[in-house]
Amino acid sequence: MNDHTGDDERELLRRTVAAILTDHCPPELVGASEGGWSEPLWKRLAEAGLTALGVPESAGGSGGALTDAAAVVRAAASYAAPLPLAETLFPAAAICVRAGFDLPDGPLTAAAGPDLTYSRRDGGVRFEGTVARVPYARVVDQILVVATDGQGGEVAALVDRAAFTLAGSDNLAGEPRDRLTADGVTPVEVAEVAPGSVELVREQGALARSVQIAGALGEVLDLCVRYTGERVQFGRPIGKFQAVAHLVARLAAMVTSVEAAAHAAVLAQAAGGHDDPAAREAARLAVAAAKTQASATAGLGARIAHQVHGTIGFTQEYRLHHLTRRLWSWREEYGCDEHWSAVLGAHVINQGADELWPTMTRV
């Protein structure tokens, strides 16, 4: 009934990740990895079996539930770990499972979008077009590509990174977000996938970012609580001032709500990951709600955190910025709150007022 056991397991996972990252992911490493990533850190997590969680063993993963993958991603986000972990465990893993590919070793990213198409030629498949802002494209060995033929067909393929032209750009936190161009790329392994797979990449990415925002906001809250207890002005810790305390209380409420929304969306995805159309739709709406909530809250939370921290938080001397620059980036990636609230709202209006409550209680 109550998901208590699962909760204990996730707490154990969180601690495992935290123990590794406390030792091996200091703020200096996060800063030094901007524009790239940390391969040694990835290897440490991989050795602990944490980089293939939530993917069935039959598909090359290390088993476990999607909630386990989310626990790892969330914990990594709270350390601003410079790794394509969210990309590997959510969009890339979901498409691998759908396409029947074995999850390859090493970090992955997924590239999909309306401007990437495929055509069949000489018994093979050729990819052409571009995808903007592919996370960590420049550091992964293989990229999971999903493309359409413009006539309702969709295929997925695992392709060596070197087959594409990449134009580098970063998000505000220095995480690679590269423009990928395919000019007649011919993959070795291709599979037809169900229609909607391009959109599934966005949906899974939005879910992953929601979980990451929850993790980063949680750590931001911890920093705020600690800082307002230590920083003394007018003869007392600033947290004793009601105006400051109320700011942090509002932040705490935001953290709680984003965490609940993200977790509920992970559960809905876990329940709706397969063929039942109703469960699939419920899962999509849950992601829409979670990313709306997470994206709308990320900036407010960052604003409060910086206000509470004063000028030190506005400098690279203090680690808050690793988290807040991610929050400012993640809220736009894989669809901002405007995008996902429109998806959710249009669905609700189309269904009609009388269906709102039944829909809310189904998800």
């Binding site: 990252l21 305390a245 709600a289 709202g345 609700v348 009609g352």
Partner: protein, 395 residues
């Protein structure tokens, strides 16, 4: 970074395990929806904002009692049904979402019954709980006073020992007492030992006062829309026999604060203006992106709050008292209730009117006039943020 080292700080108090409703609770939901459909067909339910304050129908309350949907978690020997809080959660969220008239029994079922179960005497329980569970006995709460609002410990209504009469004499004034004029009993918090004798939370006690009683005067305090729900209740030497003391004399503060997680976390803290949101959805155009975004953003918050509220119901089932997460739900939920008004105004401009023939104008009018209460009743949002900050270890 050092997330691992911070697990022991106050932020851990915010985390509650997620809850999945058991299949029996979902089956119950179907039954409640069928019942609601019947009541709607009879015209008993006419959706309007703030139903748990303003929706009053004794026959409806009694029908809920007959269905076994009041006192659901209480022991059978007191007329209850010994079901988990999650079952009650499903029933009340369905009733609130339908804006059913639950106002008469709301406080009784939510907190007066549980208070008696926790602190009442066997005699009190046997005498009162069966009627409460049947939806025929109603309680109201006497906490606030003219000079005691957020600072509840400053109440000045006194209870003075009267040995000869075998009880206590109550003197003072309570205000904003919802439905006192429609209730059978009132649970009154008053001071039975002077402030100077101890800490300010000492010396408070709870009594059950029968309505009517000699010396008790109830007079209306009308809300902005003219409705009569609030009252002033004056105690002039009202005699309360010893048998009507709740718990222990002097322990009133601890007893009162234990009700707060029940009072602050339920779906009534974010569903008050759902009828307005539904009217907005009825007139909205799915191809109007601004309206779709606005509605999606409200629905995302509602959905999230429901998940949070459900977690608290789960914690209550485990016997916990999650008052900090409950404060979070109430702060966010009541803020959302107001935001539904703001968003409606911004994407579907309409002039509010209580007697318009346009349902959107009517619901907006009702919601606007009831809105100041959302962030006041049951603890102001400012007080709640203080509780959250204390829970975080800041104060």
């Amino acid at each position: 970074m050092s997330a691992a080292t911070t697990a022991a700080t106050g932020t851990a108090t915010l985390r509650l395990p997620d809850v999945t409703l058991p299949p029996e609770a979902e089956k119950l939901r179907t039954e409640v929806r069928e019942f609601i459909a019947e009541e709607r067909a009879k015209g008993v339910i006419q959706p309007q904002s703030d139903p748990w304050l303003a929706g009053l129908d004794p026959d409806f309350s009694a029908r809920l009692g007959q269905r076994g949907w009041l006192g659901m978690t209480w022991p059978r020997r007191y007329g209850g049904h010994e079901l988990p809080s999650l079952h009650r959660f499903v029933v009340i969220e369905e009733l609130l979402a339908a804006a059913a008239p639950v106002g008469l029994h709301w406080v009784t079922d939510r907190q007066s019954g549980p208070a008696l179960l926790r602190y009442g005497t066997e005699e009190q329980r046997q005498r009162m709980l069966p009627g409460m569970a049947a939806g025929t006995t109603f309680f109201c709460i006497g906490m606030s006073e003219p000079d005691s609002g957020s600072d509840l410990a400053s109440v000045r209504t006194t209870g003075t020992r009267d040995e000869a009469a075998g009880g206590w004499r109550l003197n003072g004034t309570k205000v904003w007492t919802s439905q006192a004029h429609r209730s059978h009993y009132m649970i009154v918090l008053c001071r039975t030992a002077p402030l100077a004798d101890g800490g300010r939370h000492d010396g408070l006690s709870q009594f059950i006062v029968e309505i009517p009683s000699p010396g008790l005067t109830i007079s209306p305090i009308r809300l902005l829309d003219g409705e009569h729900h609030f009252n002033q209740v004056v105690f002039d030497d009202v005699l309360v026999p010893d048998s009507m003391v709740i718990g222990q004399i002097g322990q009133g503060w601890a007893q009162v604060t234990s009700e707060l997680a029940y009072e602050r976390s339920g779906p009534e803290r974010f569903l008050s203006t759902l009828p307005l949101l539904l009217e907005l959805i009825r007139v909205a155009d799915p191809t109007d992106r601004r309206q779709a975004c606005a509605i999606g953003q409200l629905v995302a918050q509602l959905w999230t709050l429901r998940r949070l509220s459900l977690r608290i119901a789960g914690a209550l089932d485990r016997g916990e008292a999650p008052d900090v997460p409950a404060a979070v739900v109430k702060d966010l939920g009541t803020t959302l209730e107001n935001e539904i008004i703001d968003v409606t105004r911004s994407v579907a401009p309409v002039e509010p009117s209580l007697n318009s023939d346009d349902p959107l104008a009517r619901e907006l009018g009702r919601a606007v006039l009831h809105s100041p209460g959302f962030t006041l009743r049951g603890g102001t949002n400012e007080i709640l943020r203080g509780i959250i900050a204390r829970g975080l270890g800041m104060r």
